[in-house]
Subunit: 173 residues, 2 copies
Amino acid sequence: MMSGMETWQAINSIRVIREFADRPLAAEHVERILNAGRRAGSSKNEQRWAFIVIRDREHLEELAEVGRYAGHLAGAAVAVALISPEPSTTSHTWDMGRAAQNMVLAAWELGVGSVPATVYDHELAHRLLGLPSDRRCDYLLSFGYPADPSQLSAPNRSGGRLALADLIHEERW
Amino acid sequence: MMSGMETWQAINSIRVIREFADRPLAAEHVERILNAGRRAGSSKNEQRWAFIVIRDREHLEELAEVGRYAGHLAGAAVAVALISPEPSTTSHTWDMGRAAQNMVLAAWELGVGSVPATVYDHELAHRLLGLPSDRRCDYLLSFGYPADPSQLSAPNRSGGRLALADLIHEERW
């Protein structure tokens, strides 16, 4: 169940999964995903993050309304809401991005798909997550086994990413 | 040279490396690190990032002045400056954090250490990197083979991270 995947293979093969199988995640898979987030580096090792784990179907369906593209939350086996201090700084957002990437890669190695949701309606997210006034949620991650397991081994779509030559500058812009 | 490391092992064993061996990175290692950044997901697949690769020692030494804790850049084999649009949004920063984590994990699998530098002096960074007015740099990453190779297999320091129970909430805050 914990069969491994080399790091580069995970980085290179991961794809966004928006449709999930209708079964819960194994407890050890959830734990590993959360630990992957926990293990991420953070600015000055401040670890100013918290993770809210959501599994209740009704709660997930409510959370699917927080953003224009957040509908996938309704079908997730588990969602993780990434909680920052309010006000949030660039370094909080950067740290959260790093933690999220750890989580989605650790998930992918276990055959668990994921996709991020951006919060548009902060008031709704705040209420649904029961956040205190000094905390905010900009992103949630949906996790689940893919509805279509062939997605786990599908080749990268060509054209999905810019070529390296279009992104790289040497020494200066 | 491209010997693999399972994804979870990389996530769980990576540590910050601030002192680097005085030798250049293999070209294929640099290429893989950059490709790992390129492969990261980005909000709406906009890929609004660019990477500036810096290897010139004098340039690295100059860049070591951009932040209070950026001194490690002076000794890096390669630095990668992460370039966002200006003005930068939360989603640009989040995307950059995800790309950075891909890079540092891909590096770690190859025996390459890394550490991020936060830009404090934006005017200096802007000038040293030759950025146009519609681009900014909030972070650079230093890469290199560790000066002390035993760091690649050193155990995690206990106490370095909060326990999972201190970070996790179930359903609501």
